[in-house]
């Protein structure tokens, strides 16, 4: 990506719009005239009108903006980086994590830890996995580095706690098996780009 747009530091010359302002009056009479003009121009009443209009709209047209937060919640962006989710494979329901350890390595606040072992099916199994949310800065690197789209950011952002360290285990973050059909892909860091298919060369398999 070109950085030109960041290198042009002539602030004000691009998208800024200057407010048209009258020249500052020089004489006392001019200033008085300005007061009179402003007093009777109705600008103040426009202000009053605007607030009254908003009040009426809010009360009667239903344009009230308040969200009664704990009772109502706004939908968050699919790219929002909140508490992590561990996704499952849609077909088999098996969790996607292969235990490669990349998230553990890339984590800049060093809050991801995992233990792996060789399981009965000759696969690498994650025997234990924790994220310390007291340390996590929700940078999204783990989701970005994950080769399996297994660790992603979910929508749980209410993580106030009474302790600094708040550990979350693998099972806590894993999509419950009965909620598999509601599992959503993460659109943020690490997601497959829309045209990913065009960008890869396919391995020949025509035997």
């Amino acid at each position: 990506m070109s950085l030109e747009q960041f290198k042009n530091r002539n602030v004000g010359s691009q998208t800024y719009k200057m407010i048209e302002s009258e020249p500052t009056p020089e004489s006392g009479m001019g200033r008085f005239g300005q007061v009179v003009k402003r007093t009777f121009k109705g600008e103040l009443f426009v202000g009053l009108y605007v607030t009254m209009r908003e009040m009426i709209n809010a009360l009667f047209i239903g344009e009230m903006h308040t969200v009664k937060y704990p009772l109502e919640k706004l939908p968050i962006s699919p790219r929002y980086r909140a508490i992590h989710d561990m996704l499952r494979l849609l077909e088999s329901g098996h969790y996607r994590c292969i235990g490669c350890g990349l998230c553990e390595k890339i984590c800049i606040s060093d809050c991801i830890k995992m233990d792996t072992r060789y399981d009965e099916n000759q696969r690498k199994e994650v025997s234990e996995y924790t994220i310390n949310f007291g340390r996590c800065i929700f940078c999204g690197y783990c989701a970005e580095v994950c080769p399996e789209l297994a660790i992603v950011h979910g929508g749980r952002y209410e993580n106030a706690s009474e302790q600094r360290a708040g550990f979350s285990l693998f099972e806590d973050m894993l999509t419950p098996i009965d909620a598999l059909k509601d599992q959503k892909e993460f659109d943020g860091f690490g997601a497959v780009t829309p045209n990913a298919d065009n960008a890869i060369k396919k391995t020949p398999l025509a035997y």
Binding site: F32, V35, L44, G47, L48, V50, T51, M52, E54, M55, N57, A58, L59, E63, M64, H65, T66, K68
Partner: protein, 345 residues
């Protein structure tokens, strides 16, 4: 024109006056509290918010919650403050605000029913002290109210407090002039300082309202009223962005609450004055009863103060002074002179 025959009325006893005073104190305090609720609600609506919602239905009991909070909060007196003055200052604000209300006719006269023991049969007047210099008294009391913020700010050993009190001094003193001058023209027309006379002067229905005869005085009075009550756009005394909380910086708990009550009492006083002097008083308007119409008028003026707060930015102290001495005061003087000429001619 209905002439009120004073002799017909029962004698005003001291018990009646005390009862009236207590009623005013109680009701105005309550209304002041309710005013805070209204202010918060209306500001919220104008910003498309809901305002207080959680204490009681639609947040109605928020006043009670605030009251409990203010009463139970620790009363902190700063170490280096002048303790006596620091403690007395809020009382001055509240007291002057309520004393001013003594000369304001609030609610009609009534007699306590006979069956009520002890006080039964006592006549309660509409006005606690029906003095013939009512307007002057009210203006004087409100002007005296400046001692509250002034002393509070100076007593608390805090630079923001000092700045706040300095601003109090200049703002209240300056605008006292405008208030007085603006109201002088109507006084000249009515020829009395009694608010009852003002009311009687405007008995001719909508068209006889003083604001049509004295529009300039009305506007000046309103502007000055905003300044006197320390409301936006002239809330320089305790403007958070500039002087933290001005004269109230070091105050907490109920002492701070007394400043608040005083401010709202003053707002009510100004609303009542505007309604009685300029907007036809408590005369019946068409089919609407006088007591109702005056309540509506007072409510409108009160609402206007909140509306203005929601809409307009506040101005700088120098602009305020400039406006007072170079614009409003000359205009008020010209208005008085013109009124005089018209009366003479």
């Amino acid at each position: 024109m209905e002439i009120v025959n004073v002799a017909v009325l029962p004698e005003v006893t001291s018990a009646g006056v005390i009862i009236k005073a207590i009623i005013i104190l109680a009701i105005i305090s309550a209304i002041a509290g309710f005013g805070t609720y209204l202010e918060r609600k209306i500001l919220a609506f104008m910003q498309r918010r809901l305002g207080p919602m959680h204490v009681g239905p639609y947040g109605l009991l928020q006043i009670a919650a605030d009251g409990i909070k203010l009463f139970t909060k620790e009363d902190i007196v700063p170490q280096n403050a002048n303790k006596l003055i620091f403690k007395v200052a809020p009382a001055i604000t509240a007291a002057t605000a309520f004393i001013a209300l003594a000369a304001v006719p609030v609610f009609p006269d009534f007699t306590i029913p006979e069956w009520i023991p002890l006080l039964g049969g006592t006549f309660v007047p509409s006005i606690a002290a029906d003095i013939n210099i009512g307007v002057l008294f009210i203006l004087g009391m409100m002007a005296a109210g400046l001692y509250g913020p002034l002393l509070a700010g100076m007593a608390q050993a805090n630079k923001w407090g000092i700045i706040g009190s300095a601003r109090t001094a200049i703002q209240f003193l300056s605008y006292e002039v405008v208030t007085g001058l603006s109201i002088l023209a109507p006084i000249m027309l009515v020829g009395s300082l009694s608010l009852v006379e003002f009311n009687n002067y405007q008995q001719g229905g909508f068209s006889s309202w003083m604001m049509w005869q004295q529009p300039v005085a009305f506007v000046l009075f309103l502007i000055a009223g905003f300044a006197e009550t320390n409301r936006t756009p002239f809330d320089l005394l305790e403007h958070e962005a500039e002087v933290v909380s001005g004269y109230a910086t070091e105050y907490s708990g109920m002492r701070w609450g007394m400043f608040f009550i005083g401010e709202y009492a003053n707002m009510i006083t100004v609303s009542v004055l505007a309604a009685v002097i300029f907007m036809g008083g408590y005369n019946d308007l068409g089919f609407i009863a006088g007591w109702l119409i005056v309540v509506l008028k007072i409510a409108f003026v009160f609402f206007l103060m909140l509306w203005v707060r929601a809409s307009w930015p506040h101005i700088r102290p120098d602009q305020l002074m400039w406006l007072c001495w170079k614009v409003l005061m000359p205009v008020a003087v010209v208005n008085v002179v013109i009124t005089g000429f018209v009366m003479m001619v």
